[in-house]
């Protein structure tokens, strides 16, 4: 399978608990890590809320699966694009986003942020470079 490395981009556009899309998208992302492909994630529109800080689902009876995003770095998934317009439109800043990090093996395992803020226009260019874009 390693003969072809493709660029996979998972685009998350929906709030985390109103529907099952966010949870089931994360499940695909974690599986994709086993295939040695180039994997990136995008959070835009209400998808921003999937990686918001301090999620508490106790009152709603939903499972809070947000801690799982922190494991992405261990799966070598360290390109996490956050669309800046989506943040602004919701009155949020990068301070409201979870600190998702990875350890850079090419830099003595230094801990680095996986979060890459991008504008809507930059995101369009990034999407253009992908082989597979799966959005939900």
């Amino acid at each position: 399978m390693s003969e072809s490395i493709k660029k996979f981009m998972f685009v998350n556009t929906k709030a985390p608990y109103g529907t099952v899309y966010a949870l089931e998208s994360l499940e695909v992302v974690l599986i994709s890590a086993a295939f040695d492909q180039s994997v990136s994630l995008v959070f835009c529109d209400d998808g921003i809320f999937q990686i918001a800080n301090n999620q508490n689902t106790e009152a709603s009876g939903m499972k809070n699966f947000s801690p799982a995003y922190k494991a992405l770095g261990d799966y070598d998934i360290n390109k996490i694009y956050v669309e800046t317009e989506s943040l602004e439109e919701r009155g949020l800043t990068l301070d409201n986003i979870m600190a998702l990090t990875y350890e850079d093996e090419d830099d003595d395992w230094a801990e680095k942020s996986s979060i890459i803020p991008v504008t809507r226009a930059e995101l369009a260019d990034l999407m253009d470079e992908q082989d597979v874009v799966i959005s939900s």
Binding site: M1, S4, K6, F8, V20, Y21, E24, E27, V28, I31, S32, A34, F35, Q37, D131, V132, I134, S135, S136
Partner: protein, 130 residues
């Protein structure tokens, strides 16, 4: 061209499965290849063999089954999404100690790796759903 189709919505509630079916039919008629059809999210419900739509309506599951038979399509239902929604084949029902199964034999149950592999092998992966 070689396509993998991803269907994320259930039958009748949403047009995604119908659109994917029409696309698959048209693509095959033009000589293209469908590498795999993968059913995820509520899309797994397209695989039920127990649906009884009104007689003057289309039968989505049987449409897929007939197309799969004609073209030897590989139609895969995500096991994790299926289990969550009570979609089981006979093997899985036995393993889980359930007294019934409902997956149409034209479909097979497998893991999400089949979706990723479908994306790797195909020239295009097309998503049908919201």
């Amino acid at each position: 061209m070689k396509f993998t189709l991803l269907i994320n919505e259930g039958p009748y509630q949403h047009q995604a499965s119908d659109t994917a079916y029409q696309f698959a039919k048209a693509a095959l008629a033009k000589g293209h290849e469908i590498y795999r059809v993968f059913f995820y999210n509520d899309g797994v419900n397209n695989a039920t063999r127990l649906a009884i739509p009104p007689q003057d309506d289309r039968n989505i599951t049987e449409n897929w089954a007939a197309l799969a038979k004609e073209h030897e399509l590989d139609m895969v239902v995500c096991i994790a999404a299926a289990q969550r929604r009570g979609m089981l084949d006979a093997d899985e029902a036995g393993r889980q100690g359930k007294d019934a199964d409902n997956i149409h034999p034209a479909f097979r149950i497998s893991g999400l790796g089949q979706l990723v592999e479908g994306g790797i092998q195909a020239d295009r992966l097309l998503t049908f759903g919201d």
